[in-house]
Symmetry: C2
Subunit: 463 residues, 2 copies
């Protein structure tokens, strides 16, 4: 049946593209209250489509912030239940002046649809929604489905724990399939088998109780900017290796399988660095693919201190600030990573330099879909059939917090099965989604749901 | 005659205090166009007082910005001509909420007059003005006088070169006496014999052509913040000594006289560091006084890069920025200091890190009133008589750009003879001026003008 469903989906590809355009016209920027109406309209649009398509129990799940959308189809008794994850919020469109066509006026150029949220992740979310609707139209789905379309993914899912807490029924399932989390290559078929974790730490540094005049005090007082620079410089060695003692101690060693998977998807360094105008860098003992997917990082995302306005101000600043995030490799504990970095900074701060820390939440560990996991086998089978190639197992360098949150809170694993590609300028001007990806997704999702229908629910939960 | 003039000035001390209050009520904030009316009213006030007091040729000197006020008394043929420098503009009063009494409502508490500009420098400027007027009233001044009351001191004197260029007659003199540039101690009488120079350099650093996603690129690309931190950290050693090779090469060695002068005015470290809540720091081989007056500095007044807003953003920033100013010791060339720092930074920047520089103007060299200078001898004699103590020769750690500008453009030396004290919260809330300083100034200025009347104009210009 899955092939017939795929055929029907492809037959109404133009209609689905029009639906995607309509969805992209709704400006659902979760971080900015000015877009509240766009958020509301987007929810209405998706809920109306789910209801119209025969999905039951369509409603909002409130967790105190932007609500998530749920809806269920449970007509496959004995079959496993899958939560289908997507998100309806998007990044802010700024800087507007760099867009070639307006961010909320979807525009097709050269086989791509340009709009904010096209790649991240309204395109892939709609593929999943339309696939389920098509199955329902054809008599039923091979598996039970609960949609979970989040409205706060782009702001770090602050209400997600509360939503999970308050609405356990809506999230009861055997595994999750995520429309978010795209493909790792524009040329090689890949299956995502993991992602790095993430934890955040902010700190401020103080050398005196007030800003000083650089003429009156300069030469005899510690400048907060200089001290901050020393501390930040101490985090890495010259080659870019992390220099914080003990930071890597709980990193799982890179095994043969991980090394082989990484080697199977080598980074084209000329293209990789050329696209961003940068030079090769980082832990020399590891390949670029390993550096960006398996090794942890400590990145100072922001730092500032003293006068940053126009012209010159001869201030000797007493405080400086930094925001760090760390990407975590498999095995690393987010709380431990934070603690080790805090201890390193405290140990390096000389007398007269006081530090204050602010932890950026509990953090997310790395996620791995283990060798032999039934979700992995199902996805590989589908990709082999739709592409006629064996997919490469790829880890994501980024973090998919829901994978860890759902594993931790609900005990379920996640298969990411999105169709975004890595060059589609997500979070940047001129975000786009390939029309060919829309087609590939509409071909693959029916096959995937059919494969998943063959799995034993108990085996999924044991995996 | 000078003692009689001083007596008469002191006799009308209350009237002069009322005049000072009236002057302080006029909000002459040069940096903010909203205060244009306050600037105009302040000019009118001072010009009216000069005219009323018998000063001739009172007028404005236009240089394209806030005009300066001039006026002359030239009734002492054969005697030297002194330019009396002061400024009528003040710093902005912000933050207003920290003032105990409103900044433009002068209020007397505990023998101090609190108001914006009281210490910097309307108090000392008015002492000079009233002294000259009192001499004129008594039949004439011991020297020829040209007032030069600037309106842009607090914004870096942008029009000063143009004013000097356009109005050479108004600035023809043998030396300058500045009411700006106060005393170095609240307990020991001092004479200022020099100040550090100043030069500014801004630079930006780039590691890629665009900001990147820390998940997709983290671990394989240089983070601009990390690179900026390394460069800033390379400017000093751990003890706070400047680590830029060659930077100190043109610094005049600290001689016996300089060391003795510095030792004669030791910094009370407990009070100095206690007042700012900081710990002792800086070149260990030199005393705190030497560190803050004779040694050069490189201070990063501002640095910033990446995301500095609320919350967390997992950006891997491609650019970072820094604003530096350097205080220069005697002998140092501002252009050379800039060049040496630029070369150091360029030499330390690894492949893949590009730097761009923006020089902050030509800079100002340090200023020194040499041993045996007739202005110095005159000032020392006056202070000895008014305090019954031998004044200590003190250098200022800050920069008095007019001293260097007048030396360079007009070939004349400057004696700073202001009565502000170093603890009077200039440029800060609750600025004040001591009423005792008003009295000391009114006693000392008549003596000074009389001493200066004994000098040979030619000797002044040769000094």
């Amino acid at each position: 049946m899955s092939e017939a469903v795929a055929e029907r989906l492809l037959a109404r590809k133009d209609e689905i593209l029009e639906r995607l355009k309509a969805l992209l016209r709704l400006p659902s920027v979760s971080t900015d209250p000015a877009y509240a109406e766009g958020m509301r309209a987007t929810r209405e649009f998706l809920m109306a489509r789910l209801r119209e398509g025969g999905v039951a129990d369509v409603r909002l799940l409130d967790g105190g912030g932007q609500p998530a959308i749920t809806g269920a189809w449970t007509g496959a008794p004995g079959k496993p239940t899958f939560i289908i994850y997507g998100h309806y919020d998007v990044q802010p469109p700024d800087p507007l002046e760099l867009w070639k066509s307006p961010p909320f006026e979807p525009t097709i150029r050269d086989g791509r649809i340009y709009a904010r949220g096209a790649s991240d992740v309204k395109g892939s979310t709609l593929i999943a929604v339309e696939t389920v609707i098509e199955f329902i139209k054809a008599g039923g789905c091979p598996v039970n489905i609960r949609f979970f379309l989040e409205g706060e993914e782009e702001i770090g899912s602050p209400s997600l724990p509360a939503i999970i807490e308050r609405h356990p029924d809506a999230l009861a399932g055997d595994a999750m399939i995520s429309a978010d989390g795209g493909r790792a290559s524009t040329t090689v078929p890949t299956i995502n088998v993991g992602s790095r974790g993430l934890t955040a730490l902010r700190f401020s540094l103080r050398t005196a109780s007030k800003d000083m005049h650089s003429g009156r005090y300069g030469g005899a007082v510690r400048n907060a900017n200089h001290e901050m620079a020393r501390l930040i410089a101490s985090l890495h060695d010259e080659a870019g290796r992390i220099a914080v003692p003990g930071f890597m101690d709980d990193l799982a060693p890179i095994g043969d399988r991980e090394a082989a998977d990484a080697a199977a998807l080598p980074v084209d360094e000329a293209a990789f660095y050329g696209a961003i105008g940068a030079k090769p860098y980082g832990t020399p003992e590891r390949s670029v693919r390993e550096r960006i997917t398996l090794l942890p990082t400590i990145e100072v995302n922001g730092m500032w201190g003293g006068y940053t306005g126009a012209g010159t101000k001869t201030v000797l600043p007493c405080e400086a600030h930094a925001k760090l995030t760390m990407r975590l490799g498999p095995g690393m504990d987010p709380a431990r990573a934070q603690r080790v970095v805090r201890e390193h900074l405290l140990a390096r701060a000389p007398e007269g330099v006081s530090l204050t820390f602010e932890a950026g939440g509990p953090g997310t560990p790395a996620f791995t879909l283990g060798e032999g996991h039934p979700l992995l086998a199902a996805a590989e089978s589908v990709i082999r059939r739709t592409t006629n190639r064996a997919p490469v197992r790829a880890r994501a360098g980024g973090t998919i917090p829901i994978t860890a949150i759902f594993k931790e809170r609900l005990g379920i694993d996640t298969l990411t099965f999105g169709f975004a590609m890595p060059d589609e300028d997500v979070h940047a001007p001129n975000e786009f989604f390939r029309l060919s990806s829309l087609e590939e997704g509409l071909r693959a999702w029916p096959l995937l749901l059919t494969e998943l229908g063959r799995l034993d629910p108990a085996a999924l939960r044991r995996a």
